[in-house]
Amino acid sequence: MRAARVALVVVGVGLALYGGFLLFTEQRLDQVLAVVIWLAGAIVLHDAILAPASAAVGGGLRRAGGRMPRGAATLIGAGLAIGALVTILVVPLLIAQARGPRNPTVLAGEYALALAVAWLAIAVLVAAGVAALHARDRRRPARPRP
């Protein structure tokens, strides 16, 4: 196990170093700067929006968790996370569509409708899961909460 981990780390660090080497030997300086700005944008997006939002949602779920069946908070959290990932993918499509696509074969989909349906499907599945957990707890109510 330890040997496998060491091997994975060595391979990973090696690939990252090779990528860095290629970046600085194959790309122009302005291209390297563009990569730095792109990566910095990811950090800003994560620290300014994603982390506070997920902390707030997680806190709310933990407070509500006591009144819900065991596992329900996890299920709801997972549903919100999946919905958020889908939304992150779809928002740029909606922005590009609003700007006007380059030609009729690009961005022909009904992305807003599909996103709404996706959130609805997630809500239905999570609700069904929570209901199943609730039913399980009613059949076996004796298990104490830790």
Partner: protein
Amino acid sequence: MPDSGLSRRALLATVATASVALVATTAGQTWAWLEPFNVFAPRRRGDGPQGLPLNRTAAQAGVTDLARDPDWRLTVAHDGTEQAFTRDELAAMPQSEAVLPIACVEGWSTTAHWRGVAMRDLLEAVGAPSGASAFITSLEPRGAFRTSEMGPEFARDPLTLVALELNGEVLDLEHGYPARIIAPARPGVVQTKWIERIEVRA
């Protein structure tokens, strides 16, 4: 420990579910068997003239009139001499066929059936050596991809065509009429459309 947030197992299951969901709802722009579930991809498989999506239209490239000009010729330059081919002359040469995808770096790819003159036959016709590269120029007046270069490994490949037909029809104006390049294993942006000149470079 319900108070410590998402467990590692729950996190992995969440990420796996999201990955499966996102692949299933986007990969259909390229994979036929996922096509019915393609709701979030920028492209739709087979959506476009002659069943092939477009990246750049003739109007965007500014070639609509030039490409329809009856005086169009494909000039092949080699060793100080130039030879011009009309579309009919190209169509009268031995025709080759290839089933090749347009593989766009934007993420979609669609396979199509192409027919035209094999690049190696055309180069042979002007007496080019077998190790020659081809430098291709489009009718496009401007743009980063109005020219492309292919090394001998592509120019010699029997599947590399100066394509005149697409999926059994005359190549659509949007796909590069009167003639375009199609070669195996190359990104879509160098499959130059609306070509007007091929320079042989030794």
